[in-house]
């Protein structure tokens, strides 16, 4: 994308700026749509209507909320650790927002085509833990502290199965780049990694069940990493009020919400890149059949967003169906089930891919 704008403008700074702003715009759009969708999805699942008054079917509700949050007085208790307290919301948002830089929305629409894209995404989303701990500690509130402790333990634990599954895909595809990973699953849906990846032979069919297991493991652990029900223990509203951001209000509070919804899309995107072909269309491209090649990137972006939003919808669906696990049960799910299965899965996939 940088190259494209560089060719267009011929200026390093302008093209760089455009590329840098791209993830920010993306994440804000995702959050706007995500919050609206969450309210509507939850409402319709619960026999309600959700927001209906502001704009057509409540579409402007988000703008109204945003304005309200901006206007709120920024209240902080005198006991807070001011420095950490103020940095934490910014840092948590940075973690969510930086991941967008490496996500390929289509073959042309990538903020930055990093060779070690998937590694980068894991690394920057690790930032979230630090900022959650900062928020929980600096607020000097016991609920925040409990929430932060739970959250740190949870996110760190669930990064292990995530990384193991990602590793198995990296082993199979032989690349760390998210763009190349998507490129390898090109053409039709039977080339997707969930169905054993591109190429034919015995290995492909042997891989399918293990890929499905891998997908289930990574989906569960990404739910935990984004603090969604049934793993929303750090912010369990009925126990810890709001968990680590209990003491925050106004825009700082909104930053935590922004990062949650930003993260939701980021992990959905990663899952769809790893297993469901990323931006690749399942049925080939209209642009190819009609011989209009400029159409292809748009089609790719469409498919990518469709897949991403589908996984977000499943996350919401789970959230509004399931109760919440307890903190020790959450840990045992991770350490007793997910990690061993992910490990075995990794080894088996390794052996099969040698065939």
């Amino acid at each position: 994308m940088y190259q494209y704008f560089y060719d267009l403008t011929g200026n390093v700074i302008i093209s760089g700026l455009i590329v840098a702003i791209f993830p920010l715009v993306n994440v804000l759009l995702v959050v706007l749509i995500g919050v609206y969708l969450e309210r509507k999805v939850s409402a319709h699942m619960q026999d309600r209507l959700g927001p209906m008054r502001t704009g057509w079917h409540g579409t402007l509700q988000l703008i109204a909320d945003f304005v309200k949050l901006l206007q709120k007085e920024d209240i902080a208790s005198t006991e807070t650790d001011k420095g950490l307290y103020n940095i934490a919301p910014v840092l948590v948002f940075t973690g969510a927002f930086a991941a967008y830089a490496a996500i390929p929305f289509s073959s042309k629409l990538i903020g930055s085509e990093i060779e070690v894209g998937i590694f980068y995404v894991i690394a920057v989303s690790g930032l979230v833990v630090v900022s959650i701990l900062m928020a929980g500690w600096s607020a000097n509130n016991k609920y925040s502290l409990l929430g932060a402790m739970r959250s740190a333990a949870q996110i760190i634990s669930y990064e292990i199965p995530t990384a193991l599954v990602i590793l198995s895909i990296v082993m199979l595809t032989g690349t760390l780049s998210l763009g190349k990973m998507s490129e390898l699953q090109t053409a039709y849906f039977w080339n997707w990694n969930i169905l054993g990846g591109a190429g034919f032979g015995l290995a492909k069919f042997l891989l399918i069940p293990f890929m499905v297991v891998g997908f289930i493991i990574i989906y569960i652990s990404t739910l935990a990493e984004t603090n969604r029900t049934p793993f929303d223990i750090p912010e369990a509203e009925s126990e810890l009020v709001a968990g680590y951001f209990t003491e925050y209000c106004g825009m700082k509070y909104a930053m935590f919400m922004l990062s949650e919804y930003g993260n939701m899309f980021a992990v959905s995107a990663i899952v769809s890149i790893l297993f469901f072909g990323g931006y690749q269309s399942p049925f080939g491209y209209l642009g190819n059949t009609l011989n209009v090649h400029w159409l292809i990137p748009y089609e790719q972006a469409f498919w990518f967003l469709l897949k991403g939003w589908f996984f977000i919808f499943v996350q919401m669906w789970l959230r509004w169906t399931l109760p919440r696990l307890r903190v020790d049960q959450l840990m045992s799910v991770c350490w007793k089930y997910l990690i061993p299965y992910a490990f075995v899965n990794l080894i088996i996939i390794g052996i099969i891919s040698l065939l």
Partner: protein
């Protein structure tokens, strides 16, 4: 060298999303482990008992609404029975039938809130809203009859404030038919949900002898496995005419007397209430619901204690009359207050998250705890 550790004191409430009102729990924690729980009461104290002494007998009825505000009909019912016993009034058959139907509708509505909020505390918000949607039917049925949705002032000493609405029978039957399948839905969505069972089975086990020693009653007691229901064991009004079972905790998912048992007893009790309503609804005799209401209530000297099975347990009214138009003393035995005592016993050794589940399964209403 041993590490020096310190337990943390956490105030849960009086403003907290799951203390069901203004209960304050003083938790002593070691990490997330609960060492001690101390409930602090009195944030909602309104001097009901003292107020009652300054009012005439019939004027007390609206105040009883505010005790257990989720089961107002039951509160009216108990008070009316107590004063009627003091006066020696026999109410008409029609009144008895309507009272029983209303009380059972109210029991369902109350259990719906109890189950819903128990689920919501554990994180399942959807069943909560489904149950509130169905509760709406009951509220509108009662609203049509007496004009109020929550604090009814419906059952008066010697009768009722209004006769039932002409649509009452039809709508109640409609509700019964609508609600039966939703209990099945609730079972699928929440009762047998794996995570819900993980969160509630074997948690907060209340052994039968402890429950009896603490004087627990209602679903909290029955969850521990004893068939004790005042509708059967100390039958009042016309409950002896109906055929119904008393569900008890059997430890289906864990130990007898755990949170899941208390939850499940309530689910099955709603079915039994539906059964009672079905039997009673076609038998309502004709009559005047206000014919037995005394013009002036001036009972003879004496004391009376009546108890009824309210959704939360044994609701008792102890009234002393000195032969005046005002009661000399009204004492309420509030089931929530007594059941809440068990909490300290139940929570020791569990995690913070379990306290919420346990408190939800005991199902307290602060209006009744503090009176």
């Amino acid at each position: 060298m041993a590490l020096k550790t310190e337990s943390m004191v956490l105030n849960m409430g009086p403003q907290h999303p799951s203390t069901h009102g203004v209960l304050r729990l003083e938790l002593e924690l070691e990490g997330e482990l609960v060492l001690n729980v101390k409930p602090h009461l009195g944030y909602l104290h309104r001097c009901f008992e003292k107020h009652a002494e300054a009012m005439q007998y019939n004027q007390v009825v609206p105040y009883t609404d505010r005790l257990d505000y989720l089961a107002s009909i039951g509160n009216n019912f108990g008070y009316a029975l107590a004063v009627e016993k003091l006066l020696g009034i026999q109410v008409p058959e029609r009144v008895e039938y309507i009272r029983v139907i209303m009380a059972e509708l109210q029991r369902i509505a109350s259990h719906q809130v109890a189950l819903g909020s128990n689920g919501a505390d554990i994180g399942a918000l959807t069943p909560f809203l489904y149950l509130f949607r169905d509760r709406e039917h009951i509220l509108s049925i009662i609203e049509e009859t007496c004009g109020a949705r929550m604090l009814y002032n419906y059952i008066w000493v010697g009768g009722l404030s209004h006769d039932i609405h002409p649509d009452f029978v039809r709508k109640t039957k409609e509700f019964v038919n609508h609600f039966k399948p939703t209990i099945v839905e609730l079972d699928k969505l929440l009762s047998y949900n794996k995570i819900f069972i993980e969160r509630t089975a074997n948690i907060g086990v209340l052994p039968l002898d402890t429950a009896i020693n603490f004087g627990a009653s209602g679903p909290t007691l029955r969850g521990s496995g004893i068939k004790f229901d005042l509708r059967r064991d100390d039958s009042y009004s016309i409950y002896d005419r109906f055929d119904f079972d008393i569900p008890v905790g059997k430890g289906l998912q864990g130990t007898v007397g755990d949170c899941w048992d208390r939850y499940y007893v309530r689910v099955r009790e709603m079915e039994q209430s539906l059964r009672i309503i079905e039997q009673a609804i076609d038998q309502i005799p004709e009559g005047n619901v206000q014919s037995a209401i005394p013009k002036r209530i001036k009972p003879p000297k004496g004391t009376v204690y009546t108890r009824i099975e309210n959704p939360r347990g044994e609701l008792g009214y102890f009234i002393i009359s000195d032969g005046n138009t005002n009661p000399f003393r009204v004492k309420v035995r509030a089931p929530s207050f007594v059941n809440l005592e068990v909490l300290g016993e139940l929570c020791k050794g569990y995690l913070v998250a379990d306290i919420i589940a346990i408190l939800g399964s005991i199902d307290i209403v602060l209006g009744e705890v503090d009176r």
